[in-house]
C-alpha cells in the first residue's frame, strides 16, 4: 500500500479567467505535487504545465475575457496524478493540440502567430507530463494532463540526496 499522508483523492478549485489569478493555482499545484511524493523540481515543472494550460484557456477559449471561470481538478491515484483544466469557452482545434510540439524547441518561423499554440505551452506540457489530452465539449472543454507517480524510485532518489 502506498502511504501518501494525503487525506483526499480529488481536489477542485475554480478561478476567474484572469491572468492575475493563475499564480495561486500554480502554487496550490506545487503543494499538491510535493505532498503527493513528487520531488520539488518535478513539482515546479508540473506547476509550470498547469500555468500553461490555464493560460491557454484564458487566452484562447476566452480570448482574455476575465468574466468567466477556469476550473482545476486534481485526481490523485496510486500510480498517477491526473490534472484536468476545464473551461466553457470556445473550443480549440483538437488536431493542433495533439500534434507533435517538439518542433517548438527549434521553430524556424519568425511569425508570432505560427508558434502561438506550440511555442506557448504545449511543447512544455508535452515535455514534462507523461501524456495530455484535449477534449472539446458542447458545454465545457477539458485539457487533461497525466503524470506518473513512481513513488519507490522517488523515495530512493531522496535518500541519495
Amino acid at each position: 500500500m502506498i502511504e501518501t499522508g494525503i487525506p483526499w483523492k480529488r481536489l477542485t478549485l475554480e478561478i476567474d479567467s484572469r491572468l492575475e489569478a493563475v499564480p495561486l493555482l500554480g502554487q496550490v499545484m506545487y503543494l499538491v505535487c510535493t505532498a503527493a511524493g513528487f520531488a520539488p523540481v518535478e513539482g515546479k515543472l508540473v506547476q509550470v504545465c498547469v500555468v500553461e494550460a490555464i493560460n491557454n484557456s484564458i487566452a484562447h477559449a476566452y480570448q482574455g475575457d476575465p468574466a468567466h471561470g477556469v476550473e482545476l481538478e486534481v485526481n490523485l491515484l496510486p500510480t498517477q496524478l491526473i490534472v484536468d483544466v476545464w473551461d466553457s469557452g470556445t473550443s480549440g482545434d483538437v488536431a493542433k493540440m495533439h500534434a507533435d510540439h517538439s518542433c517548438a524547441f527549434e521553430v524556424h518561423s519568425d511569425r508570432v502567430e505560427d508558434i502561438s499554440e506550440s511555442g506557448r505551452g504545449l511543447a512544455v506540457i508535452q515535455e514534462v507530463m507523461d501524456s495530455f489530452e484535449y477534449t472539446p465539449g458542447t458545454e465545457r472543454n477539458r485539457f487533461r494532463m497525466i503524470k506518473r507517480r513512481d513513488l519507490p524510485q522517488l523515495s530512493q532518489n531522496r535518500n541519495l540526496e
Partner: protein
C-alpha cells in the same frame, strides 16, 4: 514529519511582469519602428527559450539552462522589465552553479510573470 516536505519552497511569490513602454522606447533611442521589431522578436523567441529552460531543468542540463537564460536576458535587456531581467540573470547563475532546484523555482516564477508580459506586448505590437 511534515506532509509538506518543502514548506520553504511552496511556490514563487510570482506575479505577471509589468512593461514600461516609455523606458523601453528610451532604450532604443526613441525609435518606434525598432521597438516594434524588438517586441516582435521577443514574442517569437522568448516562448522557445522558456521551453528550453523547462527542458534544461527537466534533464538537469546546466549548459542549456545557462545558454537559454543568457539569451532570454539579452532579449529582455531592451524591454525595460527589470523583474524578468533579474530572474533571467539568476537562472543564468543557477545554470553555471548547477542549482537546479532553485532554477525550477525561478522558471515557474518567470513563466507566470511572462504570461502578463506577453499579453501586454501582443496588445501593443504594431501600435
Amino acid at each position: 514529519m511534515s506532509s509538506y516536505p518543502d514548506q520553504d519552497k511552496r511556490g514563487s511569490e510570482a506575479k505577471p511582469f509589468s512593461w514600461n513602454r516609455s523606458a523601453a522606447l528610451e532604450n532604443v533611442g526613441g525609435d518606434e519602428v525598432l521597438l516594434d521589431e524588438v517586441v516582435q522578436l521577443f514574442l517569437v523567441e522568448s516562448p522557445k527559450l522558456v521551453t528550453k529552460l523547462v527542458q534544461a531543468v527537466l534533464h538537469y542540463d546546466r549548459s542549456m539552462l545557462e545558454m537559454a537564460a543568457h539569451s532570454l536576458r539579452g532579449e529582455l535587456g531592451y524591454l525595460a522589465v527589470p523583474e524578468a531581467y533579474e530572474a533571467a540573470q539568476k537562472l543564468e547563475t543557477a545554470g553555471r552553479t548547477g542549482e537546479i532546484e532553485d532554477a525550477a523555482d525561478l522558471v515557474a516564477g518567470l513563466r507566470i510573470g511572462l504570461a502578463g508580459l506577453w499579453a501586454t506586448l501582443s496588445e501593443n505590437a504594431g501600435t
